[in-house]
Amino acid sequence: MLNITKNANGEALKIILEGRLDTTTAPQLEAELGKVLPGVTDLKFDLEKLEYISSAGLRVLLSTQKTMNKQGKMVVSNASAEVKEIFDVTGFSDILTIE
């Protein structure tokens, strides 16, 4: 179960993820991003309420980071200690901008 909340302000977009970003829900986020990312130059993910992330979720974050490297910037904020540890173990801490 994943809730995706979007707050758009011109070319800035904040996406709040709540729940689980896993094999079942990652395609949902990927489809949503495919629709909303064109034209966005300032993307922020708020992960305060993200409880769980598996490699399927990491795959979406990686492809989104690659897209944003071409068209603007991307920031990941408020991740829990557990989610941060997953970013550390997988080396994602080096490629994501974590606040």
Partner: protein, 136 residues
Amino acid sequence: MKRLSVKATVESLDEVQSFIDQVLEEIGCSMKAQMQIDIAVEELFVNIAHYAYPEGNGDAAVEIETDADKSCVKITFEDRGIPFDPLAHEDPNVTGPAEERSVGGLGIFMVKKSMDDMSYEYKDGKNLLTIIKNYK
């Protein structure tokens, strides 16, 4: 020891994770260990669902055993699909810029890093993949 047999499809993942979580809650597994085990179960089961039976449908079984003395949980995944040893594959690139990374193999890598032991055996036509984790 408890055992669950399901169809080896991604749709079975919820059932497999619920089965494992129920046992983990009974034994008082820590939140952190539970999340790591949940991730491991997802990665390993989804791997089976995607690759074990390229010709079509097959079954998979998951067994869970707990050892209260050692605070350890042992989970074994079993399928009759093509022989596949996830431990024989190279670790993915986890350094360098995003453009040079891919997530192929990242799931197995996460499992290797978070579990206390992981082993693979092909026996009697079955892939047997076992993980062990201290749950305190």
